[in-house]
């Protein structure tokens, strides 16, 4: 408790300092709204990371010479609280850029009822729902929406890539009958079909059923060459054992949810020799290592917990775009400059004070840069989504889970582009 209090006080002090500094050093400031769940333990480091980026940007010169004034509000991971906070920031503080939120359940109402109608740009570090992709594709977000967290789309695409590489022609998709499973099941089906693989059937597996015999029989009737399993270990065990006992193929592709010893032990290693797993991965790039080093140097401990590099990159990209657009820019103008910050052809700039200085100078000259952050080279698609590197994993001969192939961001991007 005491430690929490201290951390919270530090955070508050940081915010006050940022404001005080504004008044002292410069006569102009740019308000930026930040709505993050600071009241939950994993949310606080995400917010601290965002404020740290603002601090470094200020050190590097700020937005058009103006100090960045981040106004941090707690979303409490509650949609009502988050929307209220965002509304206050947009209506009262007149921010043109809003960073947040974490949970998709909070991010979506903020986006659809506050930022998009007001023409404010919104960027999130951590919302993963593909519903956000749909909202963007429908045009509701008017190009004002971005996120630095990869959706289930990456895993679905990797599954299709691996299936294609293995020469599979016909696959049956078994998915967990919940939001996550339906989402990834649908995405995987689309990816397989786009890669020229026939999807012989899509079968929902509802958890907590006494028997999956009927579902497995149905899958068997499809006579697929392989199974795609978007399941959790509990039902995965029942389904796979049933499947194998009925003479089904041992060729299987599974999601990261099956990366479990329980699944391996109960199904039996001897039946999992042909099993291939997919997962997203931390990038293996210099900039990702640099982020970890500078984070450790700044906060005194290595980044732990979800979404920290994503929060870093979201804030950095948004603030650099703000600079490129100018201090009086509207949300739409800032959003329009995001491609200038994430231009693969632009000069590479890193995520430190030096990097920000260089980026600010280049952007001021009207040149584009390629921001290299904690998640690697950030690149958004038309719906404001990012991709992520992925890995292929298997259960090794000794039963240990081993990553057999690293698929860099570029390769996934190329595959997604080729199938779309």
């Amino acid at each position: 408790m005491k430690k929490n209090m201290t951390r919270f006080a530090t955070l508050a002090a940081l915010a006050i300092m940022a404001q005080a500094g504004t008044a002292a050093a410069q006569d102009c400031s740019v308000k930026v709204g930040v709505v993050l769940p600071t009241s939950v333990d994993w949310g606080k480091p995400i917010a601290e990371t965002a404020l740290w980026v603002a601090e470094m940007m200020n050190e590097a010169g700020g937005v058009n010479g103006c100090k960045i004034d981040p106004i941090l509000r707690d979303s409490q991971t509650d949609p009502k609280v988050g929307v209220d906070a965002a509304k206050a920031l947009v209506d009262l503080d007149k921010v043109q850029l809003l960073i947040g939120a974490v949970s998709s359940g909070v991010t979506i109402p903020i986006l659809t009822s506050v930022t998009a109608p007001a023409g404010v740009m919104q960027i999130s570090c951590c919302s993963s729902s593909t519903r956000l992709t749909d909202i963007a594709a429908e045009g509701t977000t008017k190009g004002l929406w971005f996120r630095t967290f990869a959706t289930s789309n990456v895993q679905a695409a990797v599954a299709a890539m691996l299936a294609k590489d293995a020469g599979m022609k016909k696959i049956t998709v078994l998915y967990k009958n919940d939001d996550w499973g339906q989402d990834i099941g649908k995405l995987a089906t689309a990816a397989f079909e786009a890669a020229g693989i026939e999807v012989a059937g899509q079968i929902a597996i509802t958890d907590g059923q006494p028997s999956y015999r009927a579902e497995v029989t149905e899958a068997l009737g499809n006579q697929p060459e392989a199974l795609y399993l978007a399941l959790y270990p509990k039902e995965g065990i029942s389904v796979v054992r049933e499947w194998i006992s009925l003479g089904g193929t041992t060729k299987m592709i599974g999601t990261n949810s099956l990366k479990s010893d329980e699944f391996r032990d109960a199904v039996g290693l001897q039946y999992l020799a042909d099993f291939i797993g997919t997962d997203t991965s931390a990038p293996r790039t210099e900039s990702a290592t640099a982020f970890i080093d500078s984070y450790t140097a700044h906060f005194g401990s290595a980044p732990a917990g979800p979404g920290l590099p994503n929060s870093f990159d979201a804030t950095a990209v948004a603030l650099l775009a703000y600079h490129a657009a100018g201090k009086d820019a509207t949300g739409a103008e800032i959003a329009a400059k995001v491609p200038m910050v994430t231009d693969p052809a632009g000069e590479k700039v890193g995520g430190d004070v030096e990097g920000f200085k260089k980026a600010i100078a280049l952007l001021s000259e009207g040149k584009s840069v390629s921001f290299q952050g904690g998640t690697g080279a950030v690149a958004f698609d038309a719906n404001g989504d990012v991709s992520a590197p992925a890995v292929e994993w298997v259960f090794g001969a000794d039963g240990a889970i081993s990553e057999t192939r690293y698929i860099p961001l570029e390769e996934i991007g190329a595959f997604l582009a080729s199938v779309n």
Binding site: N177, T206, P210, A214, E215, K234, S245, G268
Partner: protein, 304 residues
């Protein structure tokens, strides 16, 4: 089609075993016992313990019987598990339900049964962990009975069906050929009249718990033999078992058997007309349908 039908019969036999005890308890004690299905879990885990124990004590018995994954030790363990689960049912009744029965109404019993279910499930989790467990790690391969239409049957499933039928047949003989069976049926029909005729209610109640617990334990082991053990396994059976009981008519042993098969077969066949995501709704649909036609279940009687 045939495959779904056969699978339904096999799943149905397990549900039937679970429903027999429930229907008797519900009828005699006049309350919906939601903790009843947890006895499946108790039975299955007890058998797991005895199986491991016996395999160490009598290694000679640990070989597989024929084409089954069932071992000699597990077969013995089933019998032991039936005794233990029956005894636990009696103990639970003595500790919880008997006391509430004396003081409160049926609704309190229903709530108490929810509590008992939670406790039992979590005690199993506490002892054995959330992890899925297996009697045997080997996967028993199905035998191709026919290629067109495709029909695959696992030897274990045939054993389970036969064993379930033997147990049901045994119960039938007890109910129809013994004095105890007459007494039991008399209490089920009319407890007051049965007592007037000299039947001791407490003895009958205890034996019903014993029988119900034992049959549930068998159902639990049979289920785990063809699937796997997990602390939630009893919980997963609550709905199908209740559906079987209600469809068959509360109080009717034969109704429960038939209800179990109906629920099993309908869930199996449902996949041919419904998307797989809706299969879990099948037991509800059957309950609705049967109750609309026969408000007291297929074999149930109007109790006025």
């Amino acid at each position: 089609m045939i495959q779904n039908l056969v699978d339904g019969v096999l799943t149905g036999s397990i549900i039937s075993l679970g429903a027999i005890g429930l229907t008797l308890i519900m009828h005699m004690l006049r309350f919906a016992n939601f903790s009843y299905a947890e006895l499946l879990g108790i039975g299955a885990y007890t058998a797991l313990v005895f199986d491991k124990l016996l395999a160490v004590l009598f290694p000679a018995l640990s070989g597989k019987i024929g084409a089954l994954t069932l071992t000699g030790t597990l077969a013995l363990s089933v019998l032991l598990a039936m005794v233990v689960a029956g005894a636990s049912a009696v103990v639970i009744d003595a500790l919880v339900f008997k006391r509430i029965r004396a003081k409160a109404d049926a609704l309190s019993m229903v709530f108490a049964s929810f509590g008992v279910a939670l406790i039992l499930r979590n005690v199993i989790t506490l002892i054995f962990g959330q992890k899925a467990q297996l009697y045997s790690n080997d996967i028993a391969f199905a035998i191709v009975v026919s290629r067109d239409p495709l029909l695959l049957i696992k030897p274990d499933q045939v054993f389970v069906l036969l064993a379930a039928l033997v147990l049901m047949g045994g119960l039938h003989l007890v109910l129809t050929r013994t004095t105890f069976g007459f007494a039991l049926r008399a209490v089920a029909e009319n407890p007051v009249l049965a007592q007037v005729s000299g039947v001791r209610l407490s003895v009958i109640v205890t034996s019903v718990w014993l029988i119900g617990g034992a049959l549930s334990a068998a159902a639990g082991v049979f289920y785990a033999l063809t699937n796997h053990l997990s602390p939630a396994m009893g919980h997963n059976f609550v709905l199908p078992v209740f559906a079987a009981t209600i469809v068959g008519g509360i109080g009717s042993v034969y109704g429960a058997v038939l209800g179990g098969f109906i629920v099993g077969i309908a869930s199996g066949l449902a996949l041919m007309v419904l998307p797989s995501g809706y299969i879990p709704a099948m037991p509800f649909l059957i309950i609705l349908f049967v109750l609309m036609l026969r408000p007291h279940g297929l074999f149930g009687e109007d109790q006025g």
